[in-house]
């Protein structure tokens, strides 16, 4: 379900990013509407993760503009970055849970520090979110006592605790054993159903086809093809996308 709003929640214009002399993003234009689910696919090295990491400022870009909820991303401005990052959640391939904090405290840390919410409220929210990802009983557990799939679900709860408007998923099932992929994707799918705006870099083509509103195919630092999943997977127009898709089988 997509809700039309006057401006895009993520608005990227002519974004260019270089690592030294190597230009990895060569002018990206992308609008993401509120509630839209975007899957980003492409070969490794095509710039898809870098693009995602630009959206919450983990990577600096040299040229172009990036707006989240109408606010431009400004690297030098710590206050603006802090504001922006409260609207953009991110989930990583490697989970990146804080190993020295219990599961519950992983989820509660940012709301407590950043949003200065009161303790009882934060605690209740954390328990509700952990229940939502099916881990209500793990509140007191340590991250290293959980399976990869469980850790990734905690990471999702942790990101949701900040009530983000956009959630970035960077190959979140790539580090999981095959039998654990399903439980994580189920959570992501339910988020999509509830109208969360999602941008996900993924290798799960079946999943991308099922849940996304639009699929972005990246090639050599550019958006090579973009469109609804039926078109991208069913009728790829460029030889690069055709080759990419056939290489997956």
């Amino acid at each position: 379900m997509t809700i039309e709003t006057p401006f895009a929640i993520v608005d990227i214009r002519q974004l260019r990013k270089r690592f030294g002399s190597n230009e990895v993003l060569k002018g990206i234009d992308l609008d993401v509407r509120r509630g839209e689910v975007i899957a980003i696919i492409g070969k490794s090295g095509s710039g898809k993760s870098t693009l995602l990491r630009c959206i919450n400022g983990l990577e600096e870009f040299q040229d172009g503009t990036l707006l989240v909820d109408g606010q431009p991303l400004k690297h030098g401005d710590a206050k603006a970055m802090r504001e922006l990052r409260q609207h953009v959640g991110m989930i990583f391939q490697g989970f990146n849970l804080f190993p020295h904090l219990s599961v519950g405290r992983n989820v509660m840390l940012a709301p407590t520090l950043v949003q200065k919410a009161n303790a009882a409220e934060v605690d209740a929210t954390a328990r509700r979110l952990l229940a939502r990802v099916g881990l209500a009983e793990k509140f007191e557990a340590w991250p290293d006592q959980l399976s990869g799939g469980q850790q990734q679900r905690v990471a999702i709860a942790r990101a949701l605790a900040m009530q983000p408007s956009v959630l970035l998923c960077d190959e979140i099932t790539s580090a999981l054993d095959p039998e654990l992929v399903g439980e994580v994707l189920k959570v992501v799918e339910s988020l999509a159903d509830e109208g969360m705006t999602l941008l996900m870099v993924t290798h799960e083509m079946g999943f991308a086809r099922k849940v996304s509103d639009r699929v972005v195919f990246m090639h050599a630092g550019r958006i090579h093809e973009i469109g609804p999943p039926e078109e991208i997977f069913g009728a790829p127009r460029t030889p690069e996308l055709q080759q990419f898709l056939s290489s997956l089988h």
């Binding site: 919450n56 710590a78 504001e83 991110m90 990583f92 804080f98 840390l109 940012a110 340590w142 900040m162």
Partner: protein, 216 residues
């Protein structure tokens, strides 16, 4: 020659050991505070900060502690500043310890995976919150062993302060030797004293490391 019993020697050395302990504590606490601010300055990523801190560290790691003590004691004297052995030894050891601790702790911070910084960034934590709640607790666990190891180096390093006339354990040992002409007995006692100071510190570090592993 004056006759000293072994007990008298030990008694005098024990009294002198107080000053070794005091100087070590001063160097360690002062060095820790200065080292920590150097580390934070570096992590802040201010322009030029990393280069400046790295130069500071290289200067103190690249010159002998003895020469640093000489410079602090005699060097400042050249400018008409009268420094007591206390100030010179305390100051030089503080700077020396700060350089090493800043470098040791930087390594510990670097050992925390980059993903931890990124996760903290993504959750909108600011620099101080990130350091205090995410990075420091993890770096601290790694830091215990090398930090305490360095504390042992500092305790032994205070012996050099005897050269600029600071009366601590080693200097007292020399003075007693001059009075008794029993260098072997006296210096053996001095060595024992240093061992009695350093060994419990190492043992404590091993225990601390074990307990931190358990209760995380």
């Amino acid at each position: 020659m004056i006759e000293f019993s072994v007990w008298q020697i030990l008694g005098n050395l024990l009294l002198a050991a107080r000053w070794t302990v005091a100087l070590s504590l001063l160097a360690f606490v002062g060095g820790g505070l200065v080292g920590l601010s150097l580390l934070v300055t570096r992590l802040r990523g201010w322009p030029g900060a990393a280069t400046a801190v790295s130069a500071y560290v290289h200067v103190f790691q690249g010159t002998p502690l003895l020469i640093q003590l000489f410079l602090a004691y005699f060097g400042l004297g050249l400018f008409g500043i009268d420094v007591s052995p206390w100030v010179a030894a305390g100051g030089a050891l503080t700077l020396y310890a700060s350089a090493y601790l800043a470098e040791i702790w930087r390594g510990c911070v670097q050992a925390v995976p980059r993903g931890q910084w990124e996760a903290a960034d993504s959750l909108a934590l600011n620099f101080g919150e990130k350091l205090r709640h995410v990075i420091a607790p993890q770096a601290l666990r790694i830091a215990v062993a090398p930090t305490v190891g360095f504390l042992v180096q500092v305790i032994k390093g205070t012996a050099l302060a005897s050269i600029i006339g600071f009366v601590e354990l080693t200097k007292t040992g020399t003075m007693i030797t001059n009075a008794t002409f029993r260098p072997f007995t006296v210096y053996a006692c001095v060595a024992l004293m240093y061992f009695a100071l350093c060994w419990p510190v190492s043992a404590f570090s091993r225990r601390l490391e074990r307990s931190m592993r358990r209760d995380h």
